[in-house]
Symmetry: C2
Subunit: 374 residues, 2 copies
Amino acid sequence: MHTVSLHSMVHEVALPDGRRYPIVVGGLQALPEWLDRIGLQRGRCLIVTDENVAALHLDLLRTTLEAFGWLPHALILPAGEETKSLTHLSQIYDAALAWGIDRRTPLLAFGGGVIGDLAGFAAATLLRGLPLVQVPTTLIAQVDSAIGGKTGINHARGKNLIGAFYQPELVYADPTLLLTLPEREWTSGLAEVIKHALIGDADLFAFLEAHWEVIRHRAAELLPQLIAQAMAVKVRVVVQDERESGLRAILNFGHTFGHAIERVAGYGRFTHGEAVALGMLAALWLSHQRHPELPFDRLCSLILKLPIAQPLDGLTFSLLLDAMQVDKKTLASRLRFVLLQALGKAYVTDKVSVGELQAAWQFVLEMRRLAVGT
Amino acid sequence: MHTVSLHSMVHEVALPDGRRYPIVVGGLQALPEWLDRIGLQRGRCLIVTDENVAALHLDLLRTTLEAFGWLPHALILPAGEETKSLTHLSQIYDAALAWGIDRRTPLLAFGGGVIGDLAGFAAATLLRGLPLVQVPTTLIAQVDSAIGGKTGINHARGKNLIGAFYQPELVYADPTLLLTLPEREWTSGLAEVIKHALIGDADLFAFLEAHWEVIRHRAAELLPQLIAQAMAVKVRVVVQDERESGLRAILNFGHTFGHAIERVAGYGRFTHGEAVALGMLAALWLSHQRHPELPFDRLCSLILKLPIAQPLDGLTFSLLLDAMQVDKKTLASRLRFVLLQALGKAYVTDKVSVGELQAAWQFVLEMRRLAVGT
Ligand SMILES: NC(=O)c1ccc[n+]([C@@H]2O[C@H](COP(=O)([O-])OP(=O)(O)OC[C@H]3O[C@@H](n4cnc5c(N)ncnc54)[C@H](O)[C@@H]3O)[C@@H](O)[C@H]2O)c1
Ligand SMILES: NC(=O)c1ccc[n+]([C@@H]2O[C@H](COP(=O)([O-])OP(=O)(O)OC[C@H]3O[C@@H](n4cnc5c(N)ncnc54)[C@H](O)[C@@H]3O)[C@@H](O)[C@H]2O)c1
């Protein structure tokens, strides 16, 4: 990471085959300079966004682009996970082709992970590939989903079952956009930041601990560093494993339980980050069994500072176990867990017994009972 | 090209970034050995095919696979260009996910270019990429569309507007499958073979001239060589330009007029190959203007041997010119032509005047008048 003249923080994703693209943390007003810098030709560009983001930030993006000679055309989709569908993908195809694009027309994905995944997939497949610029507007999208080239949509049979690996030409994250995020979305993002710290960056973990109250309240002066450092973990993983054949799986820390919690509770009751936070507690418990030297209390207590209000009613272990097995069937043959051997060091294992899983979940329930004081 | 122990002819596509895959001309019964050879694990596999191919050849493919321990599941779609649609893509998604696949489940595209493009795109996007095996069953698919990784579907606004570059793990072409092709499909394929000879292989051109009557009647003993040699031209071009940034455009020899002819005549009146054959005559005329040493009569006379019965009624120059300009708008900024400087040597130019285009079309109309004797 280094600071450049545009007063932004920059990473670079450099893939083994030579492809590379910058990841910038900076103000939206400098985006057009970056579009020039990566070699896009000013002219038409397509913005895909959702209603919430459009209401709050589209005018700024549009005028910023127009001031530099771009001709943006915005497509505004409904907000929410249901938008990651074939129906809305088809809507992007229709709008883009009706408006008129050629292979050099950039597509800007301006929104959270939903828009990033959906519009990224549209960019991957329109005219067999348009230049994609990710302009993430949620904390999850800025530190995680906009980076790494996983794009796609959901299918009735499961999440993210259709998609492509397609790298953007640029990821551009403006931290000030996050100030309008609803509280729960912010919390959900912080859970992912903690995850990145746990699996890959002990310093980031210490930074979070040291400044927790300030970060929790989104003090603007700490956001760029927070975001840039959390991004760096994702960048490192992606560079080593673009296609998720191995290492990339560590990004799923907390996700085996997390997905099961989302599924059993019914999508929407917990945010993704909330479910992952609970899942991380379980994964930490399992890790601690194997690695007693892990600073277990310290790690758990940061997670427990996340304000997660939803009760865990109905999340029985047997329902969760069923849900994990369903999850498993669609993707691989064995149930795999990401565990920590130390703060900042994760690995994948399939050697976890049902008994241990049950004990881990018991631990989560107890922690919660203590935390909410019931 | 070299002969291997399986008594088949083999090319290899070796892309600059290290990816490589074999292209085999051989009997279907040896396909399972090749699936082993490229490292696929026997188990479930998904076959996507169309009604015509299924009626004629699916039993053979299925029993061949089952004999080697595969568990094939076939999805049979309607035949025809309309099948290259989002609707049928979605049908493949539903069937594959309902049946149960994981990231290692191979998808076999068993059909002509329509199935190859559609099923290839499905393979590119299911679980972000399944192993794809192209088993082409038309001459066009064997020498052209199954090779090179262009996959996709049509959109109401134009052909092939949605898709992905996605390379197969194996292309496996059985020449005997071609014996059941309808006559016009065979002719259409021969037009593409002539195209490959013109743009890239003077020896193949001489081979076609020397054995035309036998080839035209599909004598089984010449087919493997014909196919392997025509494939080689495509392989060479693709290896040098996977993403169609330059050289790959020479595969569009005859296509600027060809597409316009298809569009003006209404899709279906001419097969793609028939339209390209007429377009090649125009392109040869333009080439000859610039390169008088080109053996113009010789080159035209092979094309004129293709039995193309459709009259050219209604194909006025002004309608064709309009159609060329429509085609242009969707993809690039200037109307480009592929011309020959010598037999086997093609290049791209945008320096062709309207007057020349008109004269070229006049030449085609005259040739046709002579050929059909009116
Ligand atoms: N591609 C990947 O590698 C990857 C990684 C993690 C998650 N994801 C995907 O990301 C999605 C979740 O992402 P998300 O949490 O960003 O969801 P999201 O896109 O639905 O955004 C959450 C909510 O915040 C709103 N919003 C976005 N930006 C805002 C802003 N600046 N101010 C106010 N409101 C704003 C949105 O309209 C939405 O209502 C899931 O679909 C998940 O599968 C993908
Ligand atoms: N991806 C590429 O690089 C590329 C290149 C050229 C063409 N294409 C695409 O290929 C398509 C045209 O391919 P095509 O000409 O093979 O069309 P096709 O797939 O429609 O096949 C033509 C007809 O032959 C039938 N058929 C196929 N195999 C048969 C067999 N062995 N016996 C009897 N009948 C058989 C089919 O059912 C169909 O009716 C177009 O959609 C075109 O865009 C793609």
